[in-house]
């Protein structure tokens, strides 16, 4: 990926105000951000700083109060099939089996279901033997693999992940981080992820966007070009970067 890659997503001067009958809360203020093709971006910051709101805007599920969001050069005015979303609580439907959950996007879009493609996807995500089980019969890591498969089956160009591994143990979390990197690399996907986990942000984000709250603003964008390298997690640079990020976040909270 080079700096000359075109922007897949461009966020321009975006603000979001949630209004109720007697109050208004400014969740985001003047956000500028761009995501290039094949780039991975991680949003970090304290709870309530608007990371998820920004992610939902990129998904076309929330609208901006001010400013505009562009996808492939055109204003994003709703949901797009090129954008896949994976949520923290998996977003799987307990009444559907693994196969039915994965096929749901195709069913909704009335697209033919290619069983071979679904089977290959399940194989790639290492859940082929879970196909007829219900989500409640799966572990947290397996559920997140299904959620990933459900987003990937629609061939997105951009993958949005909202704290997808927050509820998982360290080893499962690291295995899934590697899996996400693999699928993004093999499909040349762009990725925007929200996380509270510093090592995860450093492992996955080529750009780490640090945010502060009330209202949510971007305070710094840290370039992290080594992210997504296979051996990065065990390197000195990795630990240096986690220290830099921690300092930045502690400064942001002070």
């Amino acid at each position: 990926m080079t700096d000359s890659s075109p922007d897949l997503i461009e966020v321009r001067e975006v603000s979001k105000i949630y209004r109720s009958e007697d109050s208004a809360v400014e969740a985001l203020a003047s956000i500028d951000l761009s995501v290039r093709q094949d780039e991975s971006i991680v949003l970090v910051g304290p709870s309530g700083c608007g990371k998820t709101t920004l992610l939902l805007m990129l998904a076309g599920l929330e609208s901006a109060t001010r400013g505009r969001v562009f996808f492939s050069g055109r204003e994003l005015d709703g949901r797009r099939r090129e954008i896949g979303l994976v949520l923290q609580d998996y977003g799987l439907f307990p009444w559907k089996t693994v196969r039915r959950n994965i096929e749901l996007g195709l069913v909704i879009r009335r697209e033919p279901i290619d069983s071979d493609k679904v089977d290959a996807m399940l194989e790639e995500l290492d859940i082929a033997d879970k196909i007829d089980l219900f989500p409640q019969q799966l572990s947290g890591g397996q559920k997140q693999r299904v959620a990933l498969g459900r987003a990937l089956i629609l061939n997105p160009q951009l993958l949005l992940l909202d704290e997808p591994f927050a509820a998982l143990d360290t080893l499962t979390r690291e295995r899934l981080q590697d899996l996400v990197l693999d699928v993004c690399r093999s499909r040349r996907l762009s990725m925007v992820m929200v996380t509270h986990n510093i090592p995860e942000a450093v492992r996955l984000g080529e750009k780490i966007v640090v945010m502060t709250g009330q209202p949510g603003r971007i305070t710094r964008i840290i370039e992290n070009p080594m992210a997504r390298n296979t051996d990065y997690r065990a390197s000195d640079q990795f630990y240096n970067m986690t220290r830099i990020l921690r300092r930045e976040l502690e400064g942001g909270n002070a």
Binding site: L85, F93, K96, I108, R150
Partner: protein, 246 residues
Amino acid sequence: MRKYFQYILTLAGLFVVWQIVSMIIGSYALPGPVTVLQKLADDARSFQYWRHIGTSVYRITAALAIAFVIAVPLGLFLGMSPRTDRLAKPLIYLSYPIPKIVLLPIVLLIFGLGDMGKIVMLAMILFFQLLITTRDAARGVSREARYSLFSLGGTKRHLFRHVVWPSCLPAVFTSLRIATGTVVAVLFFVESISTRYGMGFYILDAWGRADIPQIFAGMISLAALGVILYESFDIMERIFCRWNRI
């Protein structure tokens, strides 16, 4: 198998206690289970008894079906539409606590003394239980579930079909089970007026003749009817909500 064994055990225990109490009070005021079961067995050989049962079953299932068809879609709609729910709430909460049975004369006046009046009365009583349970279940659909569905390209129609309806089904079955208890209990009242058939009449007729064993035979019949309905809903829930039993 274990479930049937539990039923048999419970019945056996109940009959033992019943027999002891009957012996203390005296068999005229409270006939023992053997006498009552003998009476039930005798009546069950007559066409008349099954006509009573058939009439009651018809009224109950018709009332359940009418209440279900109106209350469940309305409850789902209100649950999915907070604005309409806010508008409808005062009317629902004002009319829910009114004992609908006091409206029986008016209902019979409007819908007639035949089956329709009785079925409408039963349906009115069931309506609110089904409506409120279904509405609350539909309101409980999480924002994450909505986001998840919409992110796949779903519309409100898809949300209803793939999320709201299946997630509410267990609550619908629960409300049907609760409603069954109510409908069997209320049946006695509505079948005490202008009818010569139904288990309510069967019991009331026994009252008039001071036929105590028949009163208890009627009670056992109603209890059996309730169990059959409960178990039918259980079977349906096992089929349609397989995921909820794992």
